[in-house]
Symmetry: C2
Subunit: 716 residues, 2 copies
Amino acid sequence: MLKKLLLGGLGAALVLTAGILLGHFGIQRGSTIPGWIQDVTQDVDEDLIQRFISEVDNVEIQENLRELTKVPHMATTAGDERTVQYMLKRWQDPDTGLDRAWREEYLVYLSFPDPKTPNKVTVVNPSDTVLYTAREKEKEYGPDQKDPDVVQPYAAYAPAGHPKGKLVYANQGKPSDYLHLNQTLDLNGTIAITRYGGEGRAQKAINAAPYGVIGVLVYTDPRDINDGRMSDTNETYPHSWYMPPSGVERGSFNTQYGDLLTPYLAAKDDTYRISMAKITGIPPIPTQPIGFEDAYALICELGGRPAPSEWQGAFNCTYNLGGPGFKPTSTFKESQVQLDIYNRGEIKNSSNVMGVIRGSVEPDRYVIYGNHRDSWVHGAVDPSSGTSVMLEVTRVLGRMVKEGKWRPRRSVIFGSWGAEEFGLIGSAEYTEEYYSKLSERSVAYINVDISVFANATLRASGSPSAQSVILKASKQVKTPGSESTSVYDNWIRYFNRTSPTYGFYGALHLLVTWPTYFTQTKTSARIYPAYHTAYDTFDYSSKFIDPGFTSHQTVARTAGNVLMRLADSLLLPFNCSDYAESLEAYLAKALELYTEGLAVHNISIGGYRQRQKCISCCEDVPLCSSQPLKVRGINDQLMLLDRAFLDPTAFPDQYGFRHVIWASSKASEPTFPGLADAYERAALSGLDEDWEEAHRQLSLLSQAILGAAHTLEEVI
Amino acid sequence: MLKKLLLGGLGAALVLTAGILLGHFGIQRGSTIPGWIQDVTQDVDEDLIQRFISEVDNVEIQENLRELTKVPHMATTAGDERTVQYMLKRWQDPDTGLDRAWREEYLVYLSFPDPKTPNKVTVVNPSDTVLYTAREKEKEYGPDQKDPDVVQPYAAYAPAGHPKGKLVYANQGKPSDYLHLNQTLDLNGTIAITRYGGEGRAQKAINAAPYGVIGVLVYTDPRDINDGRMSDTNETYPHSWYMPPSGVERGSFNTQYGDLLTPYLAAKDDTYRISMAKITGIPPIPTQPIGFEDAYALICELGGRPAPSEWQGAFNCTYNLGGPGFKPTSTFKESQVQLDIYNRGEIKNSSNVMGVIRGSVEPDRYVIYGNHRDSWVHGAVDPSSGTSVMLEVTRVLGRMVKEGKWRPRRSVIFGSWGAEEFGLIGSAEYTEEYYSKLSERSVAYINVDISVFANATLRASGSPSAQSVILKASKQVKTPGSESTSVYDNWIRYFNRTSPTYGFYGALHLLVTWPTYFTQTKTSARIYPAYHTAYDTFDYSSKFIDPGFTSHQTVARTAGNVLMRLADSLLLPFNCSDYAESLEAYLAKALELYTEGLAVHNISIGGYRQRQKCISCCEDVPLCSSQPLKVRGINDQLMLLDRAFLDPTAFPDQYGFRHVIWASSKASEPTFPGLADAYERAALSGLDEDWEEAHRQLSLLSQAILGAAHTLEEVI
């Protein structure tokens, strides 16, 4: 048992030299000492891991998915309630269920189109004749699309309204896109059509409004999702995995997360709610998503100058900026585009389904595994590929528990979150309600949302210290269709290693992993093409994403393996040195980018290099091995390492962000987010107060990193 | 072993029915099982507590005090450094010292008068003749006052300046006092003389400035501190404990705490500092404290109408409001009061002295015991009565450790804080620097500042859950001069019980206790009369506060007993039901005061009553008794209960306050501080947004209380 680490302040010397080597623990089974002593010194049982891996069944996952995707199950609908009941039934099963399962409800603010008055997009000429009407529904290729509960494509949280104006093409709706348009066009009173990608959904409208734009359309360009394919006679679904011309990506058009009316508070019946007028981060103007079939009809008729080459998509026409409006040669000449949006907010009851397996030795330490349950339509990939995997994990683990073969050292909590599609609402409300308990006891959070959307290799992201356990698990699981190649072997074929600088800050502030397979080995699609459309169905998944469900099986084996290791390891399988490596990379980048600019304002970043600290936290092997409270102490250090970076004063303007290393940032380079944003703002404005904020960010970063070092060093 | 508790939301049912009964733990010494099992199940050793009590020596404390008070030791002066060296010598003593002791330094912003140009207060007639000059120094009665290092009385952080204006008497400088004056007087350009009490030091000037007041004097009225006594020929020190006519209470005139230039950041060399112009909570106008001898000369000459009867003090004249200015019959008629203030800010190096005794079983759990070291002058009572007690506690405990007789289960950290008098700076910077470590591991913080200032009975305040251990300790210690009466017996003679509704939120966010004796059984003094004057000396303490130092000895015995119980108890001696009782009392008060007013605005406080939760967290005695990790789990619940009430979003405008139960509040009634303040503001303004804030406060209170309940209930 050896753990030695060197952790400097913000210095280049910020290196944790050696990882944690899991040792074997001293006390042997079968002696005459009390039974609990054997329990408290028990480490991961590799035989049980192997049993778990062998029992995970691809056909079970397939049948889970079939059941979960029978009907659309958008948050708080009857279809959603059907999945609630199914989860409860499975988790309460006497042979394969969990110790306990129940539902928890929140009253949350959602946004829906009006089923009686669908949203409309039309082209209207000066005498108010409608020349063109965009589809209200996606084209039906099978019974799934015919289901009356398929929600019309819409932009959740975009306001109702009836703007009419000349059309312009605004590329991805980024600030720079509108800035470019504004150089030659008066955007006042225009409708902007934008393509998905490059900018957040809500942001496309938020960026537009200051220029006087009164409505926004958004579509998915075939270049960005279909590798250019556009024809549904032989190219797109049901002939392939590509999005049909009428397919529309739905989505939540907001930038915050959690219930929008109850920031930082769990949305209970009597909870204080802000007024709807105070909601921020949603489109200030009506917005509607449409299919590329309709976008084609509009964009290829646009007049004005040609858009820059990077703005051009896959349509066989030149993308013009708009006159504003259509070409004089078009049948739409002089016409305007009209949006008739009838979205409305509703406060609805959303459920999380929770389940637990109680820990034997440390029940007050939680390993949490979750995924959302709600979809936009049938959601076979998003989220039900993850839910069907979760149900298979719980079936196998549940049986081992019911048979008395296994009980985890730590408690395992499963969460099937509601209303995620509207902005991570279920998990955020859960976290708000149980904040103190969770922040004291959670060891890790594993999130498996979309579990398979392609078939290339595993994708995982999370806190750097979790890297090693994921690598370990991936070495024990075979890649689909191979008896010898491991997931790990296949992985390193695609990546040299996981990115050292990609962290994740989820609603739970904890470790998040998202194992995923790419289905097509060669695609430039930014995600699978049926994403958030009415084509994300069991039929789609079983034919094009994972026929035979062996990739799903592989994700279940890997994620479950990680889960068991987190739950059972005597010493938590977290590697501080991986964390340090990430910090070091961030620091190197910050030094490279900011040293000179800060020096001009008498702010020294180099000074932080001088602080060094030699940390060693358990070199005495026999002590560690035989003393459960010492082991617990070390585990607490490991568990709480990531929490040491939380600082509620760090980002007063950014809702929900408190982690000074993994926060949202506009920075293009992988480095400390608060420092990067503050530096860029100061460099742009030149204001003293902005340079002061950059200095403050540097100081709180230094304090957080040293604070983390203090939690790792010898406890007293 | 039984702990059952019922905890409702904000309901009347918020009752934790039964306290924690400390049980005896199963495994006996002397068996053949590993030694560490005996260690981890070891509870408090009552024999060692008795040894501690018997070894605490009054003469040792007297000699500690003599040494500590030889010279003035204001923060960062040579005298302060002398005490740093003394603490280090004592804590590093090979026979009676701690395991380790060291100093930690911070660069902090302090405020001093200019020794070369003393502050002056004069009465100046229209032709600029000085008619009266207030004393620059306190009168010398012995060698202590003659020490050249006695700092001139001043108001730390009050700005330099030379205001001259007509004098008015503003009572205690409360908002209502200026409001009253303003009804009949134009305060523009006036100097206000105020008496200590009723309002914070800085606030007297902050409240004054909006009325155009340009300078503030503050003095201690003999009514408030001297039971009316005024003459130094036979009534005041050196004839008694009363304040001599020239005595002046110094103090820090600020409302925040911690280094004013580095909010939320430890004040290191390269830490970001706000500009001095951005400091808030300090006097905006020059301010100076004076003795009542000078105040008498000014107030009794004031013209204008008589002040209200509650404003009258002990002087043998009518306190008039001022014309503004003096009576026409006075020799000061037409004259103005001139302040010449030369205070200046300085960034100085302040030291904490730290020491530790390493815990044997749970070294990563900290019991912290501290007191500040810096005084205004000699500080025999404040703070050296506490420091001399702390040194005696460490001497006795240190010897037991060095002799191998004792090692605490948990680690004990001792802190001798610097620059407390300027606003809790040393402890605040320490907390900021080690925030994550301390918030994860601290079990309790015991603060013993002024340990004896009178001789009536013990005074202790702290988190309600700490009540029981203080009561327990007080029953084992005899009151001074008695062989049979315990501190506890004497205590209940004075109070039925400690206030259930008095909590404390200190710089460490943790439990604070402050055992104190009243010296005079019959006095209306708000504190001991030499407080912050040049008369707070060894001579004063040994003659008038505690001749023989037996009260000091009693505090040392009690505080050390509490410390040992916190450090050694197998189960932490915290009683949840005492916490619930406090919450219940707060709730009852809130229901009484606010139910109707909130209902008018459709905010229901009664709804919270319906939530109830049955909580039981360790009914299985044998399990608890034999399983160290179960015990640790319960202790974590107890330790973290108080932390569950921390919410960084609760009081965005109040620096440093995050605890929703024990926060600063303007409310006169003992109830939830955030709700009370929000309610009062809303009731006054009637604004919708203020009622919304009241509702928000209610919701976050409910969430915090339920969050605490969640941490107490069965862990999974």
